[in-house]
């Protein structure tokens, strides 16, 4: 009996091993592997685009891998896959990964393809060109952009009406006043909330310091045009003023949701306990499904010295070691084309990079209007990164959180953030 059982198990073993090692029998077709990250709402949109591509190109087969988890999981897995030589042909990821991957020589230089096929691409749009700055490293292009994802202030229209507030705030002072008016911490009502407090990644730094500093007329990072080497200055007058503005809103004026409740952010918005927040396209489509009764819209950044904000997006990149660069290039051109972005828009929600698509029905929701106005402003700044950007920003985020969680003053946090930023830079660039 035991012998029979062990034979059976051995058979299972052989079958199992066989299953996972079956070679691609269809050697006539070329197979492209694609990795991206999408939740259940977005995935059908991407799958549709791929299906259309396969119909238009019968000799190419696409193997899509939807890597679950978050973007940082995908990043880690890509790095590990590159190291093990099992990275996909095409990858879709955050724009700021381009500096890391290009620096390490992991992704393909797309310059010649870009020059050759310029007319097909969105090259004449100002919007697109901003994003292309983020797609390049040392003057060469490494990715194609799609799906703008940066934040715009959003607000609960009903709460504003109930409080008799006629229009969204226009300046920092008005912003604070409105937030104060709509707050009642004892009743768990807050005028404002961010959703990025405890993320030890660049988004936290952008959301609580960088953007506000820009609006105050300064900047925390500058990149030397010739050497590409960054300098960080978190101790400037503008940075202090900006960070103090954000932190005081939490602890002095108590008009901002405390960072401990970050996990409940969406629920609180759905329940009407938060009047203003930062949203992006993905939130818009999710909110529309998750809280159909929520009456929300967006407005442009309140002004201090200006209304600066960034524009950032996700990018398609190609593995430097791919066997089919031409096919991969045609796939990513396909994905980032006007019609395909229009196809995905209802599923994904991110504002299309093509201006022509802004007329689509899905983008007529009021929340997109503020976004469109914001990104048409000349103050919108392209996203710029440098090698090691993520680790530097992560280290800064850790220090800033001390003030965000009320464990340190704004000065102390900025001082220690400056220190760790310089330490990280030293690790990456040497003396």
């Amino acid at each position: 009996m035991l012998v029979k059982k062990s034979l059976l198990l051995a058979l299972v073993l052989v079958l199992g091993v066989g299953m996972y090692f079956t070679p691609n029998v269809l050697s006539a077709t070329k197979t492209l592997t694609v990795w991206l990250q999408a939740d259940a709402v977005r995935l059908p949109g991407y799958e549709l685009v791929i299906k259309r591509f396969e119909e238009a190109h019968p000799d190419i087969k696409i193997e899509l891998t939807n890597v679950p988890g978050g973007w940082s999981d995908l990043y880690r897995k890509l790095l590990a896959a590159f190291a093990a030589g099992t990275a996909p042909d095409v990858l879709y990821g955050k724009g700021y990964w381009i500096t890391e991957f290009a620096d390490k020589g992991l992704i393909l230089d797309l310059h010649k393809y870009f020059i050759r096929d310029q007319k097909e691409l969105n090259a004449s749009s100002f919007f697109f060109n901003h994003l292309m700055i983020g797609s390049s490293y040392k003057g060469h292009i490494y990715g194609l952009p799609r799906g703008e994802y940066w934040y715009t202030p959003g607000y609960n229209v009903d709460l504003f009406k109930q409080a008799g507030i006629v229009r969204p705030p226009n300046t920092w002072e008005e912003f604070r006043t409105v937030a104060n008016k709509l707050s009642n911490p004892d009743k768990k009502q807050w005028g404002f909330a961010l959703s990025t407090y405890s993320r030890v990644d660049p988004v936290c730094v952008e959301a609580v310091l960088d953007t506000w500093t820009r609006q105050a007329g300064g900047q925390i990072m500058s990149i030397d045009k010739k050497t590409g080497k960054p300098t960080y200055n978190l101790l400037s007058k503008e940075a202090k003023e900006a960070f103090k503005f954000v932190v005081d809103n939490i602890y002095v004026y108590k008009n901002t949701m405390p960072p401990e409740l970050e996990g409940s952010w969406e629920t609180l918005i759905y329940n009407g306990q938060i009047a203003m927040w930062w949203l992006h396209g993905g939130h818009i489509s999710r909110f529309r499904k998750g809280a159909p009764n929520l009456n929300f819209s967006s407005f442009i950044m309140p002004k201090k010295v200006n209304r600066a904000t960034y524009i950032a997006d996700n990018k398609f990149m190609i593995n430097a070691k791919t066997k089919y660069p031409e096919e991969a290039w045609s796939l990513i051109k396909w994905f980032t084309s006007k019609d395909m972005e229009a196809l995905v828009a209802p599923y994904e929600g991110h504002l299309s990079v093509w201006k022509e698509n802004w007329k689509l029905p899905v983008f007529q929701h009021p929340a997109y209007q503020g976004m469109i106005r914001q990104f048409s402003l000349p103050e919108t700044i392209p996203f710029q990164t440098h090698p090691g950007w993520e680790s530097v920003r992560g280290a800064i985020a850790r220090e800033l959180q001390k003030a965000i969680f009320g464990k340190a003053t704004v000065e102390e946090a900025l001082q220690s953030a400056q220190k760790v930023a310089e330490e990280e830079l030293q690790k990456i660039y040497g003396k």
């Binding site: 940082s72 790095l79 590990a80 405390p258 401990e260 409740l261 970050e262 409940s264 969680f405």
Partner: protein, 300 residues
Amino acid sequence: MSNIRRRYLRETLTNYAFIAPAIAGVLIFHLIPMVTSLFLSLTRYDVVSSPKFIGLNNYKTMVVDPLWRKSIFNTCYYVGVTLPIRLIIALIAAVLLDQKVRGITIFRVIFYLPSITAGVAISLLWKLIFQPTYGLANSLLAHFGIQGPAWLGDPKWAMPSIIIMMSLNIGQFMLIFLAGLQSVPTYLYEAVQLDGGNRWHQFKYVTIPFLTPVIFLNIVIGIIEMVQMFTQAYVMTGGGPMDATLVYVMYIYQRAFQWLEMGYASSLAWFLFIVLLVLTIMQFKLSGRWVYYESAGGRR
């Protein structure tokens, strides 16, 4: 060669055939990696490029690394608070289960439930329980008019949340205590009764001394297991708000697999190894003082 020698040789070879896979396993999966990681800890290595020898730099960095200290503190906090709680609850449960009452099996299963399902599923369940707005914990507290904290979102409460969840994970300890309880000779209980003692005296003067070996065993097992906690922290908080739940193994994972700093991560791992080794040796040495072994007539 004589017949006996030949037979002995054959027997030895046969036995080695039996133990060969195990020895190979020990070499390939334990000893060689262990030595390799010692060498790795003297390099900077990101798997993509080749390793660069940097001597003891990793260890020098480690000593002044504030996150390293924080992870040690977090781990000690976690083990130091949770282990006694778990042991006490396990002991109470074992004593209860040792009473000869009906339906013991059902209760034993219920008490064991959190332990066999330990890991991802339970951590996610408790993540929902600790949800500040609509989770079970705060809803229960609200019933009594208490405003619950933000649990996993609050740096002060993140680790206590994990501790609360793990306090119910007592199955393994409970079983070992039970086995220990059942090995106490009953005539000693009668002796205490004859001397006029009550159940509390029985417990204090007979049960506890006889339980010292299993208490010791549970402490050793417990420390080794809990120092290596990872899944709960990863799944529930990812290291915690403001690194409040960044336990040691979580930190090793971050440095190894998020930042691809294999050299530094190896030095972190070796530090852990040495600490565990020292702890275990210390415990065995100290056990002579307070652990009672009946077979040796009271003193080992």
